[in-house]
């Protein structure tokens, strides 16, 4: 979005000058976000699909004698946190500092 500022307001002027870079940052973050969202959606969607198409698979033993349903469920929760950390790391790379508005 284009920024507008009042004449004589140095903070707003600074914001407006850095606006294109902020827009660049925002658009780069949005791309990262959508990619990671697609990864998680596939993981979450597969869980739903397996529950519907092959519920018997959920009962099969998996890591440490724990069944597949529990392992997959925990992995979904851990993956959400893991991807969130990856996103935070990606967004902090090479970006210009974000000015508070």
């Amino acid at each position: 979005m284009p920024y507008t500022y009042l004449k004589g307001d140095p903070v707003a002027a600074d914001l407006a000058q850095s606006a294109p870079k902020h827009d660049e940052n925002a658009s780069r973050n949005a791309k990262y976000g959508l990619c990671l969202f697609a990864v998680y959606l596939a993981f979450y969607g597969s869980f739903m699909g397996l529950n519907i198409a092959a519920p018997q698979l959920m009962a099969s033993p998996s890591v440490g004698g724990v069944n597949f349903a529990i392992v997959y469920g925990f992995c979904l929760i851990l993956a959400a946190f893991g991807l969130a950390l990856v996103y935070m790391w990606l967004c902090s790379k090479r970006g210009i500092p974000e000015v508070s508005r």
């Binding site: 959606l41 739903m48 959920m58 979904l76 929760i77 967004c91």
Partner: protein, 648 residues
């Protein structure tokens, strides 16, 4: 079951309330401006905001509802944990940063940032109000349900108590105090649930019931030819049921036994006897008046492991993996129930029979054991669609809940938004992992109330002693306080900021805007109390499901398309909100679940094939927005001169 009010629970609850009110009073001076009242000046630290996300989001439904569902049905409750957490992925990756960039105080600010449209403001404000009210009702009902057994107050007293405390928190310091209350609540909830989980693992499993009452299984002929009892004839409503009613000749007490193969298994009964002539209703438990006195009785606590691997009686301490693998190879005693209604002269007797269901541990650790998700284990089409639709609503609903969205305005910039959401996901995810241990610990701890799944978590804590019980009960109350204060803030912003200031153009200066917000918060608090009393008997989880479905259908399509489709128009956004809200509400009201739980009608007569609307109404919201936007595109204006970026 009869619960004795715990003095320690009352004391700890009062201590918690005192702390949150003290914090609110102290912070009151920081909320004099509109920016302070509605958005805490945008100066909340990202870590505090992140934990406050957990405090806001982990409502009574999450804490009490999920633990209860896991305790009664196993893995199915954990599906809610998975879905609720997955919703945060949408919030972080799609919605959070743009929302912060575009908005100021409310969700409507962001939606309307490009258009300055009265239609969008009205539609978004109404949608915020509807979702907030739907979410408020179960919280208030939950508050009343908790206060009743734990503090010995009536339902109305409980609702009023919570309502008054929350109104004081919100009116005193708006978003500043709400944030700190949610931070305190979020920290306490996650910390003490982690301690409880460690205690569950350290205790392991045992086949001995802590109450000392072993439920019996007798041969089918056990009561034949006995002179001290009479077997009552299976007449009326009992004729087609698999039960044997046995009356003791000395006491006239009737016990009910369930026929299972070649055996009779002991049941528990709760009978409500309504006399049409006198207008009085009495309650009998296991054939006797409920109480602790002579000639009275109470329900036995339930929830035990019947068989452990290798015929052991107890396991001792267990690790994370061995907790599940041991339970998988054990047999647990779950409970089913059936209602039988019969008329005897002026009396109508409604008997609920609670019967034993010995179940292999492997069956409770996979989806499909509860009535909600039973469709997963058969080949029927519509139950599977219902499951998909619910999981879609949970996935899309989180990023559309107004009380969650307003929390993005309480931090200073987009980086803080990101960090606080990651902290939120970490805290909430950790809590949801714990729910599986807590629920299964309650299922096997021998302290469950067979009539009330919402009490599973506090009763689990009681199995470890009075102090854990008091702390967990007090946290459950604080859970309600945190979520309700967030919801009232969202509703207050929608009315005072979106409707009064932006739509009706009331000329409010900064302090008048704060005053208006406080008055509205007080009004919404009163409405919430009233609804909490009116909907006392309503199923709490059902209402939470409504809120998620309506939020996802009404808000998400507009939010996503505004961010990612340049041809979105104001008419498209307004139409999508209205269509999403009306269609999801209508679908729910015409569903089998509403027929059964709301109207008391035969669910088979329901118009819609499945109860959860999201799989239809979310795409409908997107479609409406696309069609309405394409129909209302403006002709492009040719610019002859470059426009200056700055304007005076």
């Amino acid at each position: 079951m009869i619960y004795e009010a715990s003095k320690i629970a009352v004391a700890i609850f009062l201590l918690f309330v005192g702390i949150v009110l003290g914090v609110s009073f102290f912070l009151g001076r920081k909320a004099q401006s509109a920016q302070g009242y509605y958005a805490a000046h945008g100066q909340v630290h990202w870590f505090v905001n992140g934990v406050a996300f957990a405090g806001d989001y982990l409502s009574a439904a999450s804490f009490l509802g999920i633990c209860g569902m896991i305790a009664f049905y196993g893995y199915d409750g954990f599906l809610y944990s998975i879905g609720y957490l997955a919703g945060w992925i949408v919030a972080l990756f799609v919605v959070a940063e743009p929302l912060k960039r575009l908005g100021r105080f409310t969700f409507a600010d962001a939606l309307d940032s490009k258009f300055n449209s009265r239609g969008i403001k009205i539609a978004a404000a109404i949608s915020t109000l509807v979702v907030s009210i739907f979410y408020l009702i179960p919280q208030m009902v939950g508050a009343g349900a908790l206060v009743k057994p734990l503090l010995g107050f009536s339902h109305v007293q409980g609702v009023v108590l919570v309502g008054v405390v929350v109104m004081m928190i919100v009116v005193m310091a708006g978003m500043v105090s709400t944030t700190w209350v949610q931070f305190i609540k979020g920290s306490l909830l996650v910390f003490f649930c982690a301690i409880l989980t460690v205690m569950i693992l350290a205790r392991g499993f045992s086949t001995k019931a802590p109450s000392g009452h072993e439920f019996q299984t007798l041969p089918a002929t056990a009561f034949d030819n006995r002179s001290d009892v009479t077997i009552l004839p299976a007449t009326g409503a009992w004729a087609t049921k698999p039960y044997v009613r046995v009356q003791d000749k000395a006491t006239n007490v009737i016990s009910v036994w369930r026929k299972e193969g070649g055996s009779l298994t002991e049941t528990q009964t709760v009978a409500a006897v309504a006399n049409a002539h006198t207008g009085k209703t009495s309650k009998l438990v296991n054939g006797l008046p409920q109480g602790r006195g002579k000639g009275q009785t109470d329900l036995y606590p339930v929830g035990t492991v019947r068989k452990l691997p290798g015929g052991a009686n107890e396991t001792g301490g267990l690790g994370f993996a061995s907790f599940f693998s041991t339970l998988q190879n054990s047999e647990v005693l779950l409970w089913g129930n059936e209602k039988i209604v019969e008329k005897q002269g002026d009396e109508t007797i409604e008997t609920t029979v609670y019967f034993q269901k010995p179940t292999a541990g492997s069956k409770v650790l996979v989806p499909g054991a509860s009535p909600t998700f039973a469709g997963l284990q058969n080949d029927k089409f519509w139950p599977k669609v219902d499951f998909l639709s619910l999981m879609l609503a949970l996935f899309c609903g989180t990023a559309s809940l107004p009380h969650i969205l307003i929390r993005y305005y309480t931090v200073k910039d987009q980086s803080a938004v990101r960090k606080s959401t990651v902290v939120g996901i970490g805290s909430i995810g950790f809590f949801y992992v714990l729910t599986l241990f807590l629920g299964l610990g309650a299922m096997t701890g021998g302290t469950l109330d067979v009539t009330n799944s919402n009490m599973a978590a506090p009763l689990l804590a009681r199995s470890f002693g009075e102090l854990p019980f008091a702390v967990i009960s007090a946290i459950a109350f604080t859970t309600v306080l945190g979520t309700v204060s967030g919801l009232i803030m969202a509703a207050s912003g929608a009315v005072a900021h979106d409707l009064l200031t932006n739509v009706f153009k009331m000329d409010l200066n900064d302090s008048s805007k704060v005053r208006a917000g406080k008055i509205v918060a007080g009004g919404v608090g009163l409405v919430a109390m009233l609804l909490g009393v009116l909907f006392e008997k309503m199923n709490v989880n059902f209402l939470v499901g409504w809120a998620f479905s309506v939020a996802a259908s009404a808000n998400l399509p507009s939010l996503v398309m505004l961010l990612f489709w340049k041809r979105t128009t104001k008419q498209g956004i307004t139409a999508a909100i209205v269509v999403g809200m009306v269609s999801s509400l209508s679908w729910i009201l015409l569903s089998a679940q509403a027929y059964k739980d709301v109207y008391g009608w035969d669910p088979a007569l329901a118009i819609t094939k499945f109860s959860q609307p999201a799989i239809v109404t979310i795409p409908l919201g997107f479609l409406t927005l696309i069609v309405a936007s394409l129909l209302t595109q403006k002709a492009p204006v040719r610019q002859t001169q470059p426009q200056p970026l700055a304007s005076a």
